[in-house]
Symmetry: C2
Subunit: 306 residues, 2 copies
């Protein structure tokens, strides 16, 4: 059985220093599923939308072979909407509005045939929903969990219960500091691993990412970006590329996870080049592999004897 | 001929969240020369101290085989003193005092026999002094230049004149943004290379460093530090390890520079483990090479076919 993804499906209104888009496809489930679809199958999503959700989005997801038995379409309901504005250099983002709509009463129901999924990706949603999903699963082999500062802030205890049960947590550096209360990232990582997850990824945006596990650390570079167009969904895309590659490889060694981190970074680097999911909708496999090798060239150096 | 280093020799008073030290050996020349001495020789320094400069410091430098024909010792003069205080997590540093003393009237005189040095490292001092040194040299093969925000702020034009003449500039990310006026680091790097230096290193502290040159980019990881004890001199030490390794290799290829960046990072990681120059005074070569290979393990990943 395959890879099951739960999270939000949304319509985003995004303002960047360069451009603006209304009601573009967004949501953690969306980015994760599209990114993972380049690597493996079956990929299935659990989510909810209203009947205002554009058929074109459904078609795009189907084109990526994404199973939608777990996508609830609420008659007369409105899809979750989020609006955000990025400042110069994308270092700061303001949330302009959050209209939960059908997401407010979302009660994830995992269809019977998907409860045996081998890998589960818990996208960035309320930890109570993440826990609800885990409770319905039949002992998945590998559980990936994403979260954000909001949940550390308002639902820390519920989040800690989820974290205990996952194999790998993916967060950014400021979230790692917030969750652990420790400013030193390396110490913070050890403290978070002690909370449950055997593996941990700390994303550092333009500075790359760190993978912790097996008493080992891997430092992944960031792809040098001349132009970031829209960073929305880059973190979700990273998680999707990571989980998709691992699921395809069926190898949970640290070496395999390193490569998965690079494939996650690769997909994320394509994501930020265009608005919404546009950057990851039509990627030839050769282009993905070419960028993977560019990451290798970027960080590789030969032995230098003294 | 060898490696010639010019910069400051100082006595530092340093306060960290953990400890305090008075009148400890410091200065850019000091750190650069000790770091480079592990890789190559002859290494010579140009600098100035007062006759209050402790004989023990001279002995330590001599023990590292550092030539001091260019070190002026001013009778009755007092050595340059600097005091700084680091805040929690070392992200912020306040300068407590700067007593230039004999450094105020420093007029670098390069002894005749040192004017043929193949490599010159211009440590972080006023660009007018850096230019003065360059004017005395007989066409060195490779010129490394370090600087800081202060000079970009108060002596930008003089700094730009120096930069035109150097082969590689080493600065940190905020200085690169300040010098170029461009927030995107990758764009900033191209702009700075257009100012003159064929190569550029942008240091990012706990996020590693980027090397630019030959239409190529190398991303070096940072060594994961559980404890930083005193970051003073880490940048100078980086420059010293970098230049020393390159001078030893006598190979200015991009591949060789990558390794030099890692050796610079290696020495810097030892530097921050102790106060003052203590962390780099007694390093067995095996320990240096061992950490170099740890950097490789940290960033290396195998090919992952799709």
């Amino acid at each position: 059985m395959g890879l099951l993804i739960v999270g939000s499906v949304a319509l985003d209104t995004i303002e960047t220093p360069y451009d603006k888009i209304d009601n573009a496809l967004g949501g953690s489930t969306t980015y994760i599923s599209v990114a993972s679809s380049y690597f493996t199958d079956p990929v299935d999503i659990i989510g909810v939308v209203g009947d205002d959700f554009d058929e074109a989005h459904i078609k795009m997801l189907k084109r990526h072979n994404i199973g939608m038995d777990g996508l609830q379409i609420i008659k007369g309901g409105k899809t979750f909407r989020w609006g955000g504005r990025y400042h110069e250099n994308f270092n700061v983002r303001d949330t302009l509005f959050t209209d939960l709509n059908v997401f407010e009463t979302f009660d994830p129901k995992i269809p019977e045939n998907l409860r045996n999924a081998e890998y589960v990706v818990l996208g960035n949603i309320h930890p109570a929903l993440q826990m609800n999903v885990l409770d319905q699963m039949n002992d998945p082999e590998f559980i990936v969990c994403d979260t954000m500062n909001l949940w550390i802030d308002i639902s820390k205890n519920e989040l800690l219960e989820v974290i205990k049960r996952v194999d790998i947590l993916i967060i950014n550096d400021s979230e790692a500091q917030m969750l652990s209360g420790e400013p030193n990232i390396i110490k913070a990582a050890k403290m978070i691993q002690d909370m449950g997850p055997e593996y941990l990824i700390i994303k550092k945006g333009e500075h790359g990412a760190l993978l912790f596990g097996d008493d080992n650390i891997f430092s992944a570079p960031a792809f040098p970006m001349f132009n970031v167009f829209d960073p929305t969904g880059a973190g979700d895309t990273f998680a999707g590329g990571f989980a998709g590659y691992l699921h395809k490889k069926k190898d949970l060694s640290f070496e395999s996870m390193k490569q998965a981190v690079i494939y996650g970074s690769t997909l994320a680097s394509f994501c930020v080049e265009k608005f919404s999911t546009k950057g990851i909708e039509d990627l030839p496999k050769e282009k993905i592999y070419e960028r993977f090798t560019a990451f290798r060239d970027l960080s590789r150096f030969e032995d230098g004897q003294l």
